[in-house]
C-alpha cells in the first residue's frame, strides 16, 4: 500500500539520494591510507585520498581543452606547451618559472605530487622527469593515467581549484638526468659504455617512416642513433595502460641487453614518449638513466653526426 501511494518521483528522489550517499561513502569512510612507497599510485588509492591536503594532483595533458572540460576533482593543470616548456628557447621550463608554477599550485616540500595525463601518461611522465630534474621530492605517477581513471568511471569535474600559494624553492638542479646531443654522440663513440634505448616504433627505428602517423615529419634523415636498441615504449605497459610488473620490466629490458649495469640514455622523437621509458627504467627499476629530450628531431637533423638507417632512405627519397 505504501508503495502504491508513493509517487514515482518520490521513489526516484529517495533512490537517487541513497545512491549518492552510497556512491560517495568510500571517499568519506576510508581513512586516508599511507602514501605508497613506489613511484606509482593506483587509481583506487588516489580516489580514496583525493581529499588529503598534502596530496596535490596535477594533470599534464597535451590536448588543449581536455583538463578544462573534465579533470580529476581538485587537480591542478600544468600545460605541457605553456607551463613545462620554455616559451622562447627549445628547452624545459626555467628554474624561476618552475618555482613560480609550483608556488601557484600550492606545492610545498611536504606535498606528495601525483601526476597524470592523456596519451598514455607520456606528457605526465615528461612532467615527472622535469620535476625530477628540479629535485622535487615525493612525485608519483598515476598508474594508467587519465585513460584508466575514465575507463573505471571515476569522478571528474570541471572546477578550477584555487590553492593557497606557497613559496617553492628549487634546491639542486639534477642536470645529470638530461642527455644533450654531446652525450648522445659520446655514447655512440664510447662503444657501449653508455647504452642507448630508442623507444619509437620499429618502423621509425628502421627508418621506414620519419614520424608516427598524423605527426609532422620534423627530421631530415630517418633511422636511429648507431648502437641504440629498440624497445618500443608500449611494451612496458599492460592492456589498461598500467606499467608492467617490476619483474616483467626487468626481463623486457634485459632481453634487449639493458640490465642497469651501465648508464642508459632514452630517446624518441621529441622526448615525451621516451620519458615514459625513462620513468620505467629509472623510477621503477632504479637504473641510472638520462632522458635525451632533443631526441631524433635534434639528432636526425644534426650535420655530421653518424646515423644508422637500415631502410636506406636518403632525405625523403630512396
Amino acid at each position: 500500500m505504501t508503495i502504491r501511494t508513493a509517487a514515482p518521483w518520490r521513489v526516484l528522489i529517495a533512490g537517487t539520494a541513497a545512491a549518492a550517499v552510497w556512491g560517495a561513502s568510500p571517499a568519506f569512510a576510508n581513512t586516508p591510507q599511507a602514501v605508497p612507497a613506489g613511484a606509482l599510485v593506483s587509481t583506487e588509492w588516489l580516489a580514496a585520498n583525493l581529499q588529503r591536503p598534502d596530496v596535490r594532483v596535477i594533470e599534464v595533458s597535451v590536448n588543449p581543452g581536455l583538463y578544462e572540460r573534465a579533470h580529476i576533482p581538485g587537480a591542478a593543470n600544468f600545460s605541457w606547451h605553456n607551463d613545462l616548456n620554455d616559451k622562447v628557447r627549445r628547452d624545459i621550463v626555467s628554474k624561476e618559472a618552475f618555482e613560480q608554477l609550483l608556488s601557484k599550485g600550492g606545492v610545498s616540500d611536504n606535498t606528495t605530487v601525483v601526476l597524470y595525463g592523456d596519451t598514455n601518461n607520456w606528457f605526465a611522465a615528461w612532467g615527472a622527469w622535469v620535476f625530477d630534474v628540479y629535485g622535487v621530492k615525493n612525485v608519483k605517477l598515476l598508474d594508467g593515467g587519465r585513460k584508466k581513471w575514465e575507463a573505471e568511471n571515476r569522478a571528474l569535474n570541471n572546477r578550477a581549484p584555487d590553492y593557497a600559494a606557497t613559496t617553492y624553492r628549487v634546491g639542486q638542479v639534477n642536470t645529470d638526468l638530461r642527455a644533450r646531443l654531446g652525450d648522445a654522440l659520446a655514447a655512440v663513440e664510447g662503444k657501449g659504455a653508455t647504452q642507448l634505448v630508442d623507444i619509437r616504433s620499429a618502423d621509425e627505428y628502421q627508418g621506414k617512416v620519419f614520424a608516427p602517423a598524423g605527426v609532422p615529419e620534423l627530421s631530415i634523415r630517418a633511422g636511429h642513433i648507431p648502437g641504440a636498441v629498440n624497445v618500443p615504449w608500449g611494451k612496458a605497459v599492460n592492456e589498461d595502460g598500467t606499467f608492467k610488473s617490476r619483474a616483467d620490466l626487468q626481463k623486457l629490458y634485459a632481453d634487449a641487453g639493458i640490465d642497469g649495469s651501465k648508464p642508459i640514455i632514452t630517446y624518441c622523437r621529441i622526448g615525451e614518449r621516451s620519458s615514459h621509458t625513462w620513468f620505467a627504467l629509472s623510477k621503477i627499476l632504479g637504473y641510472q638513466v638520462k632522458n635525451y629530450d632533443g631526441s631524433w628531431t635534434e639528432y636526425g637533423n644534426s650535420v655530421g653526426v653518424p646515423i644508422n638507417n637500415p631502410a636506406g632512405t636518403i632525405w625523403a627519397a630512396k
Partner: protein, 426 residues
C-alpha cells in the same frame, strides 16, 4: 473535451469524418518521435568508439539545435531581412538574445577554465580568431553569399532537411567556395593574417568589464532596434494603447498546447534563448558549435590528395575556429553535431508537416551555387560562419566574432537597400 476527442479519433474511433489532416496533425509528432528512436542503434554504436560519450553528446546537441533552428526558424538572413526590409524586429531581437544568453553562459564557463584572463592565456580551443581586413572581407563575402543564396550555411543545413530546392546547391557551392578559400589563404596570410591581433576581450577588460561592454552594446542595439520599429509604426498606424490582458484569454488545454508546438513556428525569443543555451552547453563537453568544419576538412582532404590545394596552409591550423584539418575518422564531434542537426531539423519539419521537397529550378541551382561559393569563401577565410565565428566567437568574447558579424550585417543592409531601390525603379 472536444479537443481530446479529436486526438482519440485518430486512434480509430468513429470520428473519422474529421479531416485526415487533423489525424495526421496529431500523429505526425508521434511518428517523428519514433524516427528519433531510430537513432538509438547509432548512439549504441558510437558508445563503442574512443570518446564515445562525447560523440553521443554531440549528436544530442545537434538534434536539439536542429529542432530549435527548424521550429523557431532561426535564420540570420531571414531575421535580418525581416528587420531591415519588413520592419519586423522580432527575429533580430532573437539573435541579440541568443548572443546575450551565450555571452553570460560562456563567461561563467570560461571563468572557471582561465581564472585570471589577464594573465595571458586564452581559453583552449574557443573560437577566438585573428582580426584584420581579411576578416572584414570574409564577413562581406559571407553576407553577399547570404543575399544571393537566401540563407547562411547553418540555415541551409536545416533547410536541406526540409527539402529545400536551393540548399543542396548552396552547400555544393560552399564546398567550391572552400576550395577557392584554400587557394587564396596563403597569400592573404602573408599579407595580413600572420600579423593580425587575436583579441579576446576578457584579456583586456577582465570578465566583468568584457561582459558589461558586450551586454551594453547588445542592449543598446536592441533598444535602438525597438525604438526604430516604434517610430516606423507610428508613421503608419497608431500603437495599441491597452495591451491584451493574458489572464482574460481562455487557458489552452495541454493537447492544444502540444499541437501548437508542431504548427507554424515557435516564439522568436524562445528560439534565441535556446540557441544561447545550446551553444553554452556545447562548450562544456566539446569544441564550440560550428557547422562548416566537416565541409572544410572533407574538401581539404580530397583536394590536398589531388594536389589542388597547397600541402601547407600557413598558420591555418594554429588558429582556433572551425578546424579544417582532415580528420582520421568520420566520427568527430563536429560531424555528429551536423548529423544531429540534419536529423533534428528533419524530425521537426516532419512533425510540423513542413517537409516539402520540390524539384529545383535552374534559378535555384544558379543562386545556390553562386551564393554558396561566396559563403564558402567567407567561412573558410573567416575560419567559421555565422555559427562558428559570430555565435561561438562573439559569445566567447572574441573581437573576431563581432567584426565578422558587423561586416556581414553591413552587406545585408546595403543589399536590402539596393533591392528596395531596384524594386521602386521597376
Amino acid at each position: 473535451m472536444t479537443d481530446s476527442s479529436v486526438g482519440l479519433g485518430g486512434a480509430g474511433s468513429a470520428a473519422g469524418q474529421r479531416a485526415a489532416g487533423a489525424i495526421s496533425a496529431y500523429w505526425q509528432p508521434v511518428a517523428a518521435a519514433v524516427l528519433l528512436l531510430a537513432l538509438w542503434p547509432l548512439q549504441q554504436a558510437l558508445l563503442q568508439r574512443d570518446g564515445g560519450r562525447t560523440l553521443v553528446f554531440a549528436l544530442a546537441i545537434g538534434l536539439a539545435l536542429g529542432v530549435v533552428l527548424q521550429r523557431s526558424r532561426f535564420c540570420f538572413y531571414c531575421h535580418a531581412r525581416d528587420w531591415l526590409q519588413r520592419d519586423d524586429p522580432r527575429g533580430i531581437l532573437a539573435i541579440i538574445l541568443a548572443l546575450a544568453v551565450g555571452l553570460v553562459g560562456m563567461t561563467v564557463v570560461q571563468s572557471s577554465w582561465v581564472p585570471n584572463p589577464q594573465a595571458g592565456q586564452l581559453p583552449p580551443d574557443m573560437h577566438i580568431g585573428p582580426v584584420s581586413w581579411v576578416l572584414v572581407l570574409a564577413g562581406l563575402a559571407f553576407g553577399a553569399g547570404m543575399l544571393v543564396s537566401g540563407s547562411c550555411i547553418s540555415a541551409h543545413w536545416y533547410r536541406l532537411a526540409e527539402g529545400s530546392a536551393a540548399s543542396p546547391f548552396a552547400l555544393l557551392g560552399t564546398a567550391l567556395g572552400f576550395a577557392l578559400g584554400f587557394q587564396t589563404w596563403n597569400p592573404l596570410y602573408s599579407l595580413a593574417v600572420a600579423d593580425a591581433p587575436v583579441v579576446w576581450l576578457p584579456q583586456h577588460l577582465g570578465y566583468g568589464g568584457a561582459l558589461l561592454l558586450q551586454l551594453g552594446v547588445l542592449a543598446a542595439w536592441a533598444a535602438w532596434v525597438w525604438q526604430r520599429h516604434v517610430q516606423q509604426r507610428r508613421r503608419s498606424l497608431p500603437l495599441p494603447t491597452a495591451p491584451i490582458d493574458p489572464a482574460r484569454a481562455a487557458p489552452r488545454s495541454l493537447h492544444v498546447l502540444w499541437r501548437s508546438l508542431w504548427q507554424g513556428r515557435w516564439n522568436y525569443a524562445l528560439g534565441g534563448l535556446l540557441v544561447g543555451l545550446i551553444a553554452t552547453a556545447a562548450i562544456v563537453r566539446m569544441r564550440p558549435l560550428g557547422v562548416t568544419a566537416l565541409i572544410g576538412s572533407q574538401v581539404r582532404g580530397a583536394l590536398q590528395g589531388q594536389g589542388w590545394v597547397p600541402e601547407r596552409l600557413n598558420g591555418l591550423d594554429g588558429f582556433a575556429g572551425c578546424a579544417t584539418l582532415p580528420a582520421a575518422t568520420w566520427a568527430t564531434p563536429n560531424a555528429l553535431v551536423l548529423l544531429g542537426l540534419l536529423a533534428g531539423a528533419f524530425i521537426a519539419a516532419f512533425a510540423s508537416r513542413q517537409f516539402r521537397p520540390r524539384m529545383p529550378t535552374g534559378r535555384d541551382a544558379g543562386r545556390g551555387l553562386l551564393g554558396g561559393v561566396l559563403l564558402g569563401w567567407g567561412a573558410m577565410t573567416g575560419i567559421g560562419c555565422t555559427v562558428g565565428t559570430l555565435l561561438s566567437g562573439g559569445m566567447a568574447g572574441a573581437l573576431s566574432g563581432w567584426v565578422f558579424g558587423a561586416a556581414m550585417l553591413l552587406v545585408l543592409w546595403l543589399g536590402f537597400r539596393w533591392q528596395t531601390w531596384w524594386a521602386s525603379r521597376a
